[in-house]
Symmetry: C2
Subunit: 184 residues, 2 copies
């Protein structure tokens, strides 16, 4: 069993109920009512609306100080109070992927603005980043990011999204889908 | 067909003949006489000594100037004169993979010494880097690097290896196997 690979499947039902599904940029996904996150490369045994796979990899851009802060303050997934979730699907441009590391760091902005924004919402919002790009040349997204939070932290999550979408990094996002979910 | 994935299989025969197989650090591999590099995730139809997979990914650490230099001077694989090859298998330490980007850049050394050394051997030595780490949690190596060169550039390739192994980056290499090959 390959613990790095995660499959997310959406269809008529699932362990999470889909509240909304918004195409922020580029085309959206087939409509679905429920979603399930599973470890491994899972072949769905029922008809599904869509299925996406990603890999939990090592940190790429976070500094040591940011990693230490995450280790101290980042909550784990599956907290009983975290009955709301979001799945943000991102594809960056070909230009982004052809960049040199110096260009990519410059595009990420001073002091890695993305990470700095994210850590301000700890420990309320749990996060798991999955990488898709290296799975195949035909993956529809580069990143799947899964977030979990309590219902009262929903407005904070909205602010987090607004702040990230205003960064210069987001100029390189050519497709984004924002899915909100709940469980009982 | 997934053009990013490459499978390298060694056994009694292959499109390249194995001249030597040296465990530089850590355990070596099962002995084999020949080796074949194939696109895709190939299930060998004969008994093989070993099989390794890797993914041709996007550049991680190279700067724009280095990428431009590579684009200008890096030769392609398969040159008729390049009848010698080397396959260097590398596994880095858990400490390396847990590093922050700032620590990893510092460990790579000033001006990314690794890339600077490599570009000095262009256009004589062609190179293709494959990433294994994200394929599964159980891959024996993190990187497979394939090199092709003419017989008269063999001594230059030896110098390249010596220079790289003397860098501070190599302190984080916990397993390395060096395989040399030829074709007619």
């Amino acid at each position: 069993m390959d613990s790095r690979l995660v499959t997310i499947t959406a269809g008529a039902s699932g362990s999470w109920r889909i509240d909304s599904d918004t195409a922020i940029r580029g085309p959206g996904l087939a409509p679905a009512a429920g979603l399930t996150v599973m470890a491994g490369d899972v072949l769905a045994d029922t008809v599904v609306a869509w299925s996406l796979r990603g890999i939990a990899s090592h940190p790429r851009y976070a500094s040591r100080a940011q990693l230490d802060d995450l280790a101290r303050r980042q909550p784990s997934l599956g907290r009983p109070t975290a009955t709301r979730a979001a799945l943000i699907l991102i594809r960056k441009s070909a230009t982004w992927w052809a960049m040199g590391q110096d260009e990519r760091l410059a595009a990420l902005g001073p002091a890695s603005r993305h990470a700095e924004i994210g850590t301000r919402y700890l420990p309320a919002i749990a996060r798991r980043l999955l990488h898709c790009r290296d799975l195949s040349a035909a993956e529809p997204f580069d990143f799947l990011t899964w977030f979990e939070f309590a219902p009262e932290d929903g407005p904070a999550f909205d602010r987090l999204c607004t702040e990230l979408r205003a960064t210069s990094e987001w100029e390189h996002v050519e497709r984004e889908v924002d899915i909100r979910l709940r469980r009982d």
